[in-house]
Assembly symmetry: C2
Homo-oligomer: 226 residues x 2
DNA sequence: TTCATACTTCGATCCTAACCGAAGCATCCA
DNA sequence: TGGATGCTTCGGTTAGGATCGAAGTATGAA
């Protein structure tokens, strides 16, 4: 039975708590330095360095040198998806590191999931789209409807520009705080980016939380009614 | 950073080579006894027993007592999907346990992937469906087209009966021998079952290979032209 | 040049968990 | 009832790898 892909190698990489913490931190979507990742994982810089080179060898992360810093980020969207899958599965089996759902209310409300919005607000986007038939679903797969294309362009998103990407346009991602699906894929990313670009929301500097301005909050709730 | 799902726990479970071998064996879709799984993983029965209880605690597998045997199987389709994701990712990064693709030509040609067909033949089904517009895709998500519903019912599959399932109807699954996608989901399962039910194919007793009868081979090639 | 910062490599320690022998429990068969 | 099979539990050993101190390399600042 020595056929096939080496899933044990990927498992081992993700199976160490320090590495898992680093990967979780990188799910924030931003590149982080070795020092920052060492703090995120609560290990020394030497230990972090060793972990990072293993993650890189395994193809989960990439590094970019910039001056005397080295920035580490998830290798690509596939790596992000993989971690999302595992998070969803772990959450579905009740494997949480503390109580169900994030303790911090801000994280529960809205947080970054690699490159799109998760938490209460993330789930709301998908719920609203499905209720208004912007997106249709067969249980897991998502597709934009004809009438939905119109609605999305009215939000200020150019679907034509997103289409050429090799990543799927919409994808569902199991939310571990809400235990329901939210919108991932290039559309999910574009919507999140749209809110950042307009200054309606920003990333928290300490955690994966996303903070909305009062103006952004108002817009969000009216753009995604239930 | 102690928020969120415990991905390290899942990673650790999958990260041990013996457990990974057991899970890979269970991807064949059939329930296996502890003794069989011990052989698959090349460990003693005691060691296997310990691994199996860990996998069960982690929610990856279930056991069913039957007389003096205990049959172990993947917990559900979600567990199968998770393993598929990881296999796909591992293969995409070139993490293979030997040379790329299965050594055994029969495995390359057709094998079981939890509950549907993989390998050359598995990829062919999806290729054929897409070429004939039975299924449409946006890169990763799959959906049956209107005209496709007709074609599928002509194959002898009742789509209405598959629809109520909570699992997605069609799903792509990265094939590690072909490095391309094949058809998973309830439709993929139903098609595979259809071939088994009609006696056109059967599972190999030793491996995950699927063996076609000459009659089954002929039918397969004509039902799924390229 | 010199010092400081950011990170890697080396080496030694220590701890977890995989492993198996032996014994125990449960089920089936004769 | 006795013995065989299938599996689990217990206990002790061992190996792999996570960890960090110390030393080494690279970049930037003074």
């Amino acid at each position: 039975m020595k056929e096939g892909p080496d899933i044990a190698r990927i498992g081992t990489l993700i199976g160490d708590p320090a590495r898992a913490n680093m990967l979780t931190a990188l799910m924030g979507g931003q590149a982080l330095t070795a020092t920052e990742l060492a703090q995120a994982a609560s290990v020394s810089l030497q230990t972090a360095s060793s972990h990072l080179s293993k993650l890189q060898d395994g193809g989960l992360i990439t590094q970019r040198k910039q001056g005397r810093h080295r920035y580490f980020a998830l290798a690509d969207a596939a790596a992000g998806s993989l971690l999302e899958s595992i998070m969803g599965f772990a959450a579905s089996r009740g494997h949480l590191r503390q109580r169900p759902g994030p303790k911090d209310p801000a994280l529960r409300k809205a947080r970054v999931c690699y490159d799109h919005l998760a938490g209460d607000y993330g789930v709301r986007i998908l719920d609203s789209f499905i209720a208004r038939e912007v997106i249709e679903t067969d249980g897991e797969n998502l597709a934009v409807t004809e009438s939905g294309r119109q609605a999305i362009s009215e939000l200020g998103i150019d679907l034509e520009k997103l289409a050429p990407s090799r990543r799927p346009l919409c994808k569902s991602c199991l939310d571990w705080s809400e235990r329901r699906s939210h919108l991932a894929g290039t559309l999910g990313k574009a919507l999140f980016q749209h809110f950042l670009d307009n200054g309606w929301a920003r990333r928290s500097s300490e955690s994966r939380a996303v903070l909305f301005t009062p103006e952004g909050e108002r817009r969000f709730l009216s753009l995604f009614p239930l």
